[in-house]
Point group: C2
DNA sequence: TCCATAATGTACCTATAGGTACGAATCTAT
DNA sequence: ATAGATTCGTACCTATAGGTACATTATGGA
């Protein structure tokens, strides 16, 4: 099939990782082809040959980001014994990784493109859809808790999910603004104080 | 003094308003000189003559934004009888204006430049400083409430301010994502449920 | 060994970015 | 009326953006 021809001289995954980090750090429009090829260690035609154009590369980098960063979050959400513990774990995890050394601060999905030119509108739409998907995960977990009895019946899963999603998005901004771990943890603590009903800690 | 010479053929304030709206909608880097001159209805040399360069114009547009949008918020903060009412008023006001028809969604200070090229780092630093200033206003109002006795002594004004500032930043993202008024109001309601001590409504 | 296939590096393309030179036009003060 | 000052529109500048043509090189299969 596609076995013949000159073999690729670079590690495709490593190059994609490098691209992901640049997009994550500078955003979609703030990243130039020159930035990308420099970080990936390849020439422009190799980039186009392996990944398509800039937008295609961004989409693939975003998919890699979600696979990497989203997996542990999804796992934490499903495995936690209660909805409250699940949300607390998710927020706490993000508070930690958003300010970790050696990687861009905040969430790539939130920060990569909130505003920009009309030409990059498709990228913003994709990111907005992924944010919505993240919120849907939160809502589903809260609804599950309601079914399992650890969330009050009168609670509104959609509204709670919107609230905690907003917290996460605000935390990404805070992380970019230089917030440290303690500050984000404090924000998470405050956010968890809003949990409905037994606010003094009705955990599993 | 500056009375002689050919008079300016356009309304400087109206042009600045137009520039503000474009920057607010598309962000700093997402706005081109062509976008600006088209919206302002002037030619490029007129723009440079009246406002300096792109960065200077952005700074002045941001100052106008703060004068316009910040005034009512500062007034609401200081005039409210209690810190809780002050914060609730601020959040409620922003929930309203963030999704108002006929203007860009969300907050210009939050959205204009969170990521980008190294060249626009000064703009991001300016915006971050203004976000910090906003949070400082919240903290000061909460501390005042503590002094006046309507906020529990054991509450942490800095931490609460960080929390509500994060809420506002997250709400700007939500507004850009198409959230409607009811959704933002729900987020505000949840956020106010975190107020310390008598959470069932210890208002003034 | 020769061919088809595919990746490589160099060198280029067009469009547009932010910014400016310059002469014509329009004002105030004398 | 003239001088000095300031804005105007046209036309331009350089740098860089994303993207590609093309000859070269390296592989697998016949």
């Amino acid at each position: 099939m596609a076995s013949s021809g000159r073999p690729r001289a670079f590690d495709r995954l490593r190059a994609l990782e490098a691209a992901m980090e640049v997009f994550w750090e500078r955003g979609y429009e703030g990243t130039t082809l020159a930035d990308l090829t420099a970080a990936m260690g390849i020439n422009r035609p190799s980039l186009y040959g392996a990944f398509g154009n800039k937008e295609d590369l961004f989409c693939e980098a975003l998919a890699l980001y979600e696979a990497r960063e989203g997996a542990v979050i999804t796992a934490g959400l499903t495995e936690a014994p209660t909805a409250r513990a699940a949300i607390a774990t998710t927020l706490g995890h993000n508070a930690k990784v958003y300010v970790e050394e050696g990687r861009p601060r905040g969430c790539m999905i939130v920060l990569s493109s909130l505003v920009g030119t009309p030409e990059s509108a498709p990228v913003r739409a994709l990111l907005a859809a992924r944010r919505q998907a993240g919120e849907d995960e939160l809502r589903a977990r809260i609804a599950r808790g309601q079914g399992e009895g650890d969330v009050p019946a009168e609670a509104d899963p959609a509204q709670l999910a919107a609230f905690y999603s907003t917290i996460l998005q605000g935390m990404s901004v805070a992380a970019r603004d230089g917030a440290d771990r303690a500050r984000l943890d404090g924000i998470v603590a405050n956010a968890m104080a809003c949990w409905p009903a037994g606010r003094a800690g009705t955990d599993g």
